[in-house]
């Protein structure tokens, strides 16, 4: 990695943000920013790195933008005014310290705008706010480079066609729109934290990228508890990364993890963020509640020592603010762990009866666990074997089959 790449990773959001405010056109801003980077790739090694690299990138991008305005002025009057601005080689005061935070925030809100498809939001956020290259995004999401390229191009055209304003949404819409931003960051984190053999390190980088962006969002919007809730959830989940894969890259489930390998400083940061989320006094939201559950695990030396009663209460609360069959299933597990496997089994059977998680291996795998605990081994074995058949991940399947075999 060159110093240019490092600068780009650190500054891309602010550079693209400032240029979008200046041009009023995200697509043009992104294009001229990329052109400035391409120019730097040639001229910096030749002439040496400029004393103010960010100012250089901004000034170069701005010149390119003005060139574009001149070309457009022939077709469209409104560009004529922008095109006459002098090109004195400065950044034209694009770098306004009082506006830069709002520019970055506006960029996040635009990249996560509801007019875009979820995949487009993720790609555009990573590209414009995170400063990742198209190739990096493609590698992280295991999709071909042209697919990502097309998503980003389309996304920028959609933003322009829908005339999405470059602004932090007005207070009335902000909370709802913030939910959209948080869900994009959460998707990036989850994608990165899915333990997949082989490329697990690469994916971990993606998860850390989400953590970095969430920290930035928390620093820019300190009054929003759910931002801290998400940050806490990411930090606490990431704290388990060192323990969740074995020497051969195999997934290790929470129960079997060597908890001494958990990253204590990440846990501490996660707890602090959770404290911030709770301090607002409005009650925890869905991310905050999941973080609180993760914090229960982080505080316990072992599965047995976990405060399962509290975990049950937190899942009940989560089920009310964000109902989902997966939450129900987790609540059933927690109820069983808190000492009532029979009650947990009833809850799982309810899920089966209403067919709310059709085709998922999770239901039979949990059923198998609970039946094992209740001593109904024949039924347990059948459930675990069914779970193995439904499971798409080879390593998880192996674990399930091992459990079934152990019941013989």
């Amino acid at each position: 990695m060159s110093s240019l790449e490092a600068i780009w990773r650190i500054e891309s959001a602010r550079i693209v943000g400032a240029l979008t405010r200046y041009t009023g056109d995200l697509e043009l801003a992104e294009d001229v920013a990329q052109e400035a980077v391409a120019e730097a790739l040639v001229s910096w090694p030749r002439d040496g790195e400029p004393a103010n690299p960010v100012g250089w990138l901004l000034a170069t991008a701005r010149r390119r933008a003005i060139d574009a305005f001149r070309r457009r002025a022939a077709r469209d009057e409104k560009y004529a005014l922008l095109a006459v601005e002098d090109t004195d080689g400065s950044d034209g005061h694009l770098w306004d310290p009082d506006r830069i935070d709002d520019d970055v925030l506006a960029l996040m809100f635009v990249a996560c705008h509801p007019v875009l498809s979820p995949e487009a939001r993720v790609a555009l956020t990573l590209r414009t706010v995170g400063g990742l290259s198209t190739e990096e995004i493609a590698r992280a999401f295991l999709v071909p480079v042209p697919t990502v390229q097309a998503r980003i191009t389309r996304a920028k055209k959609t933003i322009a066609a829908a005339r999405v304003p470059f602004e932090v949404p007005p207070v009335a819409e902000r909370r709802e729109r913030l939910g959209g931003v948080l869900s994009v960051l959460y998707v990036i984190f989850t994608e990165g934290s899915t333990a997949t053999a082989g490329d697990s390190l690469l994916r971990q980088d993606l998860a850390y990228e989400a953590v970095r962006l969430t920290r930035t969002l928390a620093a820019l919007l300190p009054g929003e508890p759910e931002v801290f809730g998400l940050l806490a959830l990411c930090e606490l989940t990431a704290s388990r990364f060192p323990a969740r894969t074995g020497p051969d890259g195999e997934a290790i489930l929470l129960e079997q993890q060597d908890r001494r390998r958990w990253d204590r400083s990440a846990i501490r940061r996660g707890r602090a963020a959770l404290g911030q989320a709770a301090a607002a006094g409005r009650g925890l939201g869905p991310y905050g509640l999941q973080a609180a559950i993760a914090a229960c695990h982080a505080a316990a030396d072992s599965v047995a020592a976990t405060d399962w009663e509290r975990v049950v209460l937190l899942y009940e609360a989560l089920g009310r603010v964000a109902p989902s069959p997966v939450v129900e299933l987790n609540r059933a597990v927690a109820v069983a762990m808190a000492g009532s496997p029979a009650e947990g089994l009833l809850m799982v059977d309810e899920l089966v009866a209403t067919d709310r998680l059709p085709g998922s291996h999770l239901v039979p795998s949990v059923r198998g666990e609970l039946l094992t605990r209740l001593g109904r081994t024949a039924e347990a074995r059948a459930e675990l074997e069914l779970a193995a058949r439904l499971c798409a991940n080879a390593r998880e399947r192996a674990v399930l089959l091992d459990k079934a075999r152990a019941l013989n």
């Binding site: 110093s3 990773r9 970095r212 620093a219 204590r264 400083s265």
Partner: protein
């Protein structure tokens, strides 16, 4: 991600310039830089050291350690403080180091901080240290 320590190394001259700078001005300059690190989501820890003249040096040249009051005789560079940051690459750590508020003549050393995972996990002392980190929540 990896942790890097940015270690400030001052000289007598830069120390003197620092002493001549109004304290509020210093606080603002350093504060702005720290805020950049926070907004970028990379700051783990930061500490500045007390005046070198208040420190002592323990010298192991002889058979028994010899204590002398600071500053440090032949040593021209004095540690002034450190930042601990969490970044994906060494180049990003260097990029942040380039932006550190520093007086001309000062230096910053960029060093990676290995994680405890990089040590042999079955070693008794590493296990003990892990346990201590676990109990105290140390970095």
């Amino acid at each position: 991600m990896a942790k890097y320590m940015l270690i400030m190394r001052n000289t007598d001259e830069t120390q003197a310039k620092m002493a001549d700078t109004p304290f509020d001005e210093m606080l603002e300059t350093v504060g702005r830089f720290n805020e950049e690190l926070i907004k970028a989501g990379v700051l783990v820890a930061a500490e500045g050291l007390d005046d070198a003249s208040q420190g002592v040096v323990v010298d192991y040249s002889g058979e028994t350690p010899v204590i002398t009051d600071g500053p440090y005789g032949e040593t021209k560079e004095l540690f002034g403080g450190f930042y601990l940051i969490d970044v994906p690459t060494k180049e990003e750590a260097i990029e942040w180091a380039k932006r550190l508020p520093a007086f001309p003549g000062a230096k910053c050393e960029v060093r990676r901080v290995p994680g405890i995972d990089e040590f042999p996990q079955d070693n008794e002392w590493i296990r003990k240290e892990r346990a201590w980190r676990e109990q105290t929540g140390q970095l």
